[in-house]
């Protein structure tokens, strides 16, 4: 029972990490970013590259530390590619959700093929750092360190993001532009610059998610496709535009998914979760938390 509760929270934390970046690019900016999964993939490959560099150019005793460099690297690389993506494609498509859906889907395919050309079609392996092996024994159950680490990473990422959005000057500008673009522009905020920064941050967080997922999952050109649906599901259930909603949505889906899977089986569990989400969205079309706004859509 304790184990299952932990499993639920653990799955929730992974979902949250996947969805947090999307909560910004889709939630705040309303860009249906189908390339979000590929930004996760970029984060995973960045981790792989950092590992290769460490294992080839640095002494073996240093190897375990690669992971601490890998996370910021994944953030920066994904953020830069996100910035490029915003600059070349997305900025021309604001307010045109269908076009941006198709365009970002295409960009996703391009990024997949690029990864395949650079790293080859087969999966690559990332070795988890030694200090994350094993688990913590509490009252008869083993909690793997990797899972605990991911939960901690999610909490830190979330707090940092919340601090950035709600406590800094740039964060305030971001919220202003997302809530009322015209008014913010009138008051002297450069919405162009804000868009770029916001998209880069959302992409960067996807990169961090990719770095974390190397610990528990495969690293290949198409891994983004496994996570994209879950990410959108979490953001939609949580309520588009609400950071807190994303947290509750991720944990809720994680726990329900684990419980259903335990009662039935993996395939059926997923079906039940989706069924529940469909029912839920009938009842609350705008998700768990919805933004109170006076703007006319």
């Amino acid at each position: 029972m304790i184990m299952q509760a932990f499993n639920g929270i653990s799955l929730g934390s992974i979902l949250l990490l996947i969805a947090l970046g999307l909560a910004i690019t889709f939630g705040l900016m309303k860009v249906i970013n189908m390339a979000h999964g590929e930004l996760i993939m970029i984060g995973a490959y960045s981790t792989y590259v950092v590992q290769i560099i460490f294992s080839q150019y640095l002494p073996a005793t240093m190897f375990d530390w690669y992971y601490f460099l890998a996370i910021p690297t994944a953030f920066v690389v994904a953020a830069l590619i996100g910035m490029l993506l915003e600059f070349t494609v997305i900025r021309h498509l604001y307010g045109r959700p269908l076009d941006s859906l198709l365009a970002t889907f295409g960009v996703g395919l391009i990024l997949q093929q690029a990864a395949r050309s650079i790293f080859g079609a087969p999966n690559v392996g990332v070795q988890s750092p030694g200090f994350l092996r094993g688990g913590l024994e509490i009252i008869g159950v083993t909690l793997p360190y990797i899972r605990l680490f991911i939960i901690a990473l999610v909490v830190i990422s979330f707090l940092a993001l919340a601090w950035f959005l709600y406590k800094t000057r740039t964060g305030r500008k971001i919220r202003a532009v997302m809530q009322n673009r015209e008014m913010a522009t009138c008051l002297g905020v450069s919405s162009r610059k804000v868009d770029t920064i916001t998209f880069a941050i959302g992409s960067g967080i996807a990169g961090i998610a990719g770095a974390a997922l190397t610990l528990i999952g495969p690293i290949g050109p198409t891994i983004g496709t496994y996570y994209i649906v879950d990410a959108f599901m979490v953001v939609v259930v949580g309520g588009v535009g609400m950071l807190m909603g994303t947290v509750v949505g991720a944990l809720g889906i994680g726990v329900f998914n684990t419980v259903f899977e335990y009662w039935t089986n993996a395939s059926m569990g997923k079906v039940l979760v989706f069924a529940l989400i469909i029912l839920f969205l009938q009842w609350r079309p705008s998700g768990l938390f919805s933004l109170q706004s006076r703007s006319l859509d």
Binding site: Q4, N7, D99, A114, N123, L215
Partner: protein
Amino acid sequence: MKKLLRGKLAFLGMAVSTMLLLSACGGGGSETTGTEDETGTETEPDVEIADDEDVIQVGILHSLSGTMAMSETSVRDAELLAIEEINAAGGVLGKQLVPVIEDGASEPPVFSERAGKLLQQDEVDVIFGGWTSASRKAMLPVVEENNGLLFYPVQYEGMEASPNIFYAGAAPNQQIVPAVDWLLENRGTEFFLLGSDYVFPRLANQIIKAQLEENGATLVDEQYTPLGHTDYNTIISRLRESKPTVVFNTLNGDSNVAFFKQLADAGITTDDLTVLSVSVAEEEIRGIGADVLEGHLASWNYYQTTDTPENEVFVASYKEAYGDDRVTGDPIEAGYFMVHLWAKAVEAAGTTDVDAVREAAIGIEFDAPGGPVKVDGDNQHVYKTVRIGEVQADGQFNELWNSGEAVKPDPYLEGYDWARGISGQ
């Protein structure tokens, strides 16, 4: 209005830059890896000018994009290597082989359509291709209608024998059944069956369950996860509760990575249980990480470490052609030897005519890297040696057991009384 126009222009610009990017990627790829350049429908450049009489066109149809590309590109490479070898030795019937490469894109409908194109438009004499059972079943009606010839390189669930297909991978009695026997004898009798939720694992587990019942062994649990599933926490909780001694793993693709990593994180080691996989070969081990797989088992007909003189040559030439960091594996070896089997059959028939080749292929033998193989007359499968191997720290297998001789293929398991009642449906 202005905004709209700007948008249109931008879209155009985007399309152009997209194409540029694509071509740039393609170019870069061919330089770095040297094997990723043939994506899609191109044929060798001299096909159009060459006289049809001087060459034999052969089709190669694998997924070069999509989720299966990670496995199938290597098989394509092995087939091209075999074609090169045959050409260097003077070709078949004095003619050079010219491969026509198509991309199945990991989608069964694409496989079916491309197979039709190869047979009708390019008029190839044989197709080497496929990986998933779904892709084979998509090509089956096409090759039968056009009376074409398909060589299929991967182990599968059996219960099939098309007159137009030669099966170079293992039938269940050449992989699954002996593996279960070996496990029962050496590792324990409490089985946990874990598989991806599609046709191969479900049918394979049907066979295993009948075999366990026959031997009085216990089935503690049977679980399926969707293809591409990445969270195995709940499965691992079940493993802890049901305490099996053996996990028979028919997961396919990326799920294996997630399962083995999370199993190791949970602190479950080979002291607690043994996992035997039927879809994890050398290539997959590199993506999973040998550190989490060490000590677990696999059942195949060939390993890179298989000790035959043919294999020494094969591994050396494969690495020379595609890079020192590449590894071989069972489906790669099957892809390689099935091209040779076909070439020998054509030589024996004296023509590339499908019916004549099919006739001549029966009983054809070849010294494959994994030991001698022979085409069976009853079902067009191949006699192969069964091998059980243990993963070592370097990602290679250490062979624990082999069948000693090539085993006759029995796709319908007619030689086993307990298997009655199992069918492909």
